[in-house]
C-alpha cells in the first residue's frame, strides 16, 4: 500500500479504502437489517404470507439510506434503476425455485443453486438491455450546465466538470461501462474545447 512521506495514503488508495469501508458497512448493516424481517417471516402464518418478508427491501433501505447521506439524488436514481432489474430477476428466480421444488422435486439447496444462475442472467441481461436500449439521460437539472473533460485517473474516458456537488458524485463514482458512449462523445467535445482555448 503506497504511503506518502507524511504517513498518509495516496489518493487512489484512500478512495479504495473508503469504498471498501462503505461496502463492509453496507454488507454488515444489510445483514442485520435483514434479520428482523426474516424473524417476522418465521413467526407469521400462513407460510406464503411469511414469504413476502423474504423479499423485504431491508438491504435496499440500508444501501439507499447510507448513499443518500453521502451522495445526491442523482446517484440514488442509478441505484434504484439497478434495483428494479434486481427485483424482476428475484421474481423470476423465486418462480423457478418454486417450480424446481414442486415439479422436479429437487432439494432446496440444488434448486436455489441452479436458479441463481438464472438470477444472474436475468439481472445482468436486464441491466445490459436497459443500457443499450435507453440512452443515458443526463437531463438532471444539476447537470444541464456541465462541461466535459478528460479524467486524470484513467478510470473513465472522461468525466463531468459539474457545477454542483450532486453532479460531481455522478462523475466520480459511476465509472462504469454504462457511460462509455456519452463519455467518449464528450471526450471529443472536450478535445475540441481544449484546442479552441489553445488557439485563442
Amino acid at each position: 500500500m503506497p504511503v506518502l512521506k507524511d504517513g498518509s495514503l495516496s489518493i487512489p488508495w484512500k478512495r479504495a479504502v473508503t469504498n471498501m469501508t462503505e461496502y463492509v458497512v453496507r454488507f454488515s448493516s444489510g445483514a442485520w437489517s435483514f434479520r428482523p424481517s426474516r424473524c417476522w417471516g418465521n413467526l407469521l402464518r400462513p407460510k406464503s404470507f411469511a414469504g413476502l418478508f423474504g423479499a423485504a427491501p431491508s438491504v435496499a433501505l440500508v444501501t439507499l439510506a447510507s448513499r443518500s447521506t453521502s451522495t445526491g439524488s442523482a446517484t440514488l436514481l442509478f441505484q434504484t434503476r439497478s434495483m428494479m432489474a434486481g427485483a424482476v430477476a428475484l421474481a423470476v428466480y423465486c418462480v423457478i425455485v418454486c417450480h424446481l421444488l414442486v415439479r422436479a422435486r429437487m432439494r432446496a439447496s440444488l434448486a436455489t443453486t441452479l436458479a441463481f444462475a438464472v438470477w444472474l442472467t436475468v439481472a445482468f441481461g436486464l441491466q445490459a438491455l436497459w443500457d443499450n436500449v435507453t440512452p443515458i439521460h443526463l437531463s438532471f437539472s444539476s447537470l444541464r450546465d456541465s462541461r466535459w473533460y478528460d479524467s486524470p485517473s484513467g478510470l473513465h474516458s472522461a468525466v463531468l466538470s459539474p457545477p454542483s456537488p450532486a453532479s460531481r458524485v455522478i462523475a466520480t463514482e459511476r465509472p462504469s461501462a454504462v457511460f462509455s458512449l456519452p463519455f467518449q462523445r464528450s471526450s471529443a467535445r472536450a478535445r475540441r474545447d481544449r484546442e479552441r482555448t489553445r488557439s485563442s
Binding site: K47, A56, V88, L101, M106
Partner: protein, 89 residues
Amino acid sequence: MIENARDRRKHEAGLRGTRRGQQAAALDASGAVLGALGLLAFAAAFFLLVETSVMVAFVSASLAWLSVSVTAWYAWRRTRACPERRQCN
C-alpha cells in the same frame, strides 16, 4: 433453512419429511415472488420520487412495497391458492 426445519420436525415425528420440506420451501418461494413484485414497486416509487425529496421517497417507497406485496398476496390467495376459502397454510 425452511426445508431443513420441516425435515427435522418430521424426523422427530418418525416420518421422512423430505416432500413436506420441499413443499414448505416452495410455498415460501411463492410468497417471495409476490414480495419481489413489492420490491419492484419500492424501487419504482423511489425512482419517481427521489428528486422531490429523499425522505418522501423513502416513506412512499416503503408504503408502496407493503401495499403492493400484501395486495398481490391477497389476490393470489383468492384466485390461485385458496379460491374456495379452504384452510391452506
